[in-house]
Symmetry: C2
Subunit: 336 residues, 2 copies
């Protein structure tokens, strides 16, 4: 294991993946935009499981804030279990998947096409059944991913969706921010080390984010389970003030994920209130602050992610776990 | 406290609330259907926080399965933090709230109206600001709720939404099932006692459900946090097989919520696989089996809920907690 573990190599590849995927993604995005015929979709429907579903949450918020279109997370069970054809006329459906091989996701993508959506897949494996089922294939282009936990493919999927958004919204500043992101990630990684020690000693934890950051907080909470066997749950910083707040009476830690500038005030207020309860708090709001200032709202939550992934690997090794191969998991989960 | 606690009285009132709300809800639903002008909505948008949001999840699945319309959970932050007007033309927006007083929910309801949705509120407090903001008010009609944790108002909200669905879908069997539900709940309560002892001794737990049952599993997981200070997270029985499954290596218990007949095979397979890991499992699939057989798919997940609420109160008392007043919570959470 040690430093030649697959997951550490894949985390290190993230900036390169983001740089190299730009041209090939914009070519595919051109096809998607052409197929939409200049019409703004009336709904962003998304499909995904696990990490991919969290990238989809991130994108639903980003598309909603930027374009004013509502987002719908379509459960694969709607077709795989209930055999229900949804009416998706006028919708853009984004199916996110690393492997493109989960049977329920492939089936759900077919249902979305028959329901009238333009279906675009953000996928890493271009030879997968999913890539053959859809209207437009946007490659994550992350190369093979050997570790079971997705890292470079998650970041690549989030960036691919934002690149699509830059074109649909004609947002030149978001496009420039995406071009700068690899450098910012490298610089942030040099200047910050995330330490999960106090968090994973607790009984459980919240990871809080707001807006697009909620999707990335979901990803962080999932990875805490997957890599460190640590039970963490993601919440919006408003939602956590409802019933979940009662766990502040117990040994429940809190990770305040980095949010955009617009929601940081609300997020900081929750972090402060939680700190006053005397529980362990890891606040990532300041990570990459200077370099993030010019990047705008959508990008900020992605900045702590490589460092967080690396901190998870370190914590797993300290606990005697193999971060490349979580014992009960496999790379393709065959659910229906 | 003991048997005269407010929450126990409110749980006992559930069958009566469901019986007495029928007429007043159908009157309001008539107005909603008239306002829709015979058109099937192209989107079910929902808004809610905490328990109310879980009732909304339950309803999005039920409306999707029954009517084939996609569902969208609209985050209140979209208007309260991001100031974004969503385009919701042709959508039916259901805003679920016990109090009708959370500022972000009231603001989001106004955004939905300006965005072109027909906005109906399922609300308990008819004098609330929310009731004045919307097109149609469907009363939960649960009477005053004194305990901080919602119980009768949750069941009432779920039933109100299903009553709307019976009319939109012309589903006479669902309507009959709703009429029978209060009797089934009373009968189930007499014949079954739910024991949470082995679950709340674990470090954490999953509550799994599928389809509409996922919303009720979310409600159960929230109540475990709120009333017993026990960290539980809800998952679909497909989603839990991804990264979260790794927690089966640790002291993580599992509650298999009762699902509908269509998804019970998939659910049972997960419960069996989890049991094989040797962790504590509470399987509610068989609760009210005989009486549920004639009730169809949508209703089944509601059947264990009163017994589960009561089990939570018993567990809280054993742990020396006050189930009426979780220490860090208040009845109206003022988030923006």
């Amino acid at each position: 294991m040690s430093n030649d573990s697959a997951i550490l190599r894949e985390i290190a590849e993230i900036p390169t993946v983001l740089r190299q995927s730009s041209a090939v993604q914009f070519e595919a995005i051109g096809k998607a935009v052409h197929a939409l015929g200049g019409e703004k979709p009336r709904l962003l429907a998304t499909m995904g499981r696990g990490s991919s579903d969290h990238a989809a949450t991130f994108l639903r918020y980003a598309f909603g804030i930027s374009l004013g279109i509502p987002g719908s997370s379509i459960s694969p069970s709607m077709s795989s279990i209930y055999g229900r054809q949804l009416d998706l006329k006028g919708a853009l459906c984004l199916v996110v998947s690393q492997s493109g091989r989960s049977p329920d996701i492939v089936r759900a993508a077919g249902m979305a096409r028959r329901g009238g959506a333009l279906v675009a897949t953000i996928v890493n494996d271009m030879s997968s059944p999913l890539a053959k089922e859809v209207d437009v294939v946007i490659p994550i282009n992350a190369g093979e991913e050997r570790a079971i936990a997705a890292t470079k493919s998650f970041m690549g999927a989030a960036a691919a969706g934002l690149r699509l958004l830059t074109i649909l919204s004609s947002d030149a500043s978001l496009r420039r921010a995406l071009d700068t992101l690899p450098d910012v990630l490298e610089q942030t990684d040099r200047n910050h080390t995330i330490d999960l020690f106090a968090i994973v000693k607790a009984r459980t934890a919240f990871v809080i984010g707001r807006g697009p950051a909620l999707g990335i907080a979901q990803e962080a909470a999932l990875k805490l389970k997957e890599i460190v066997q640590f039970p963490a749950e993601a919440y919006s910083s408003a939602e956590v003030r409802h019933g979940p707040w009662q766990l502040g009476q117990t040994d429940c830690a809190l990770v305040g994920w980095k949010t955009d500038a617009v929601s940081s005030e609300s997020q900081n207020a929750v972090v402060s209130a939680y700190r006053a309860l005397g529980r362990p708090v890891l606040d990532l709001q300041d990570i990459g602050r200077r370099s993030a200032e010019n990047l705008g709202n959508m990008i900020a939550p992605l900045i702590p992610l490589p460092g967080f992934y690396r901190a998870l690997v370190m914590a797993a090794m300290q606990l005697g776990l193999d971060p490349d191969r979580p014992k009960l998991l496999s790379k393709v989960t065959e659910t229906i």
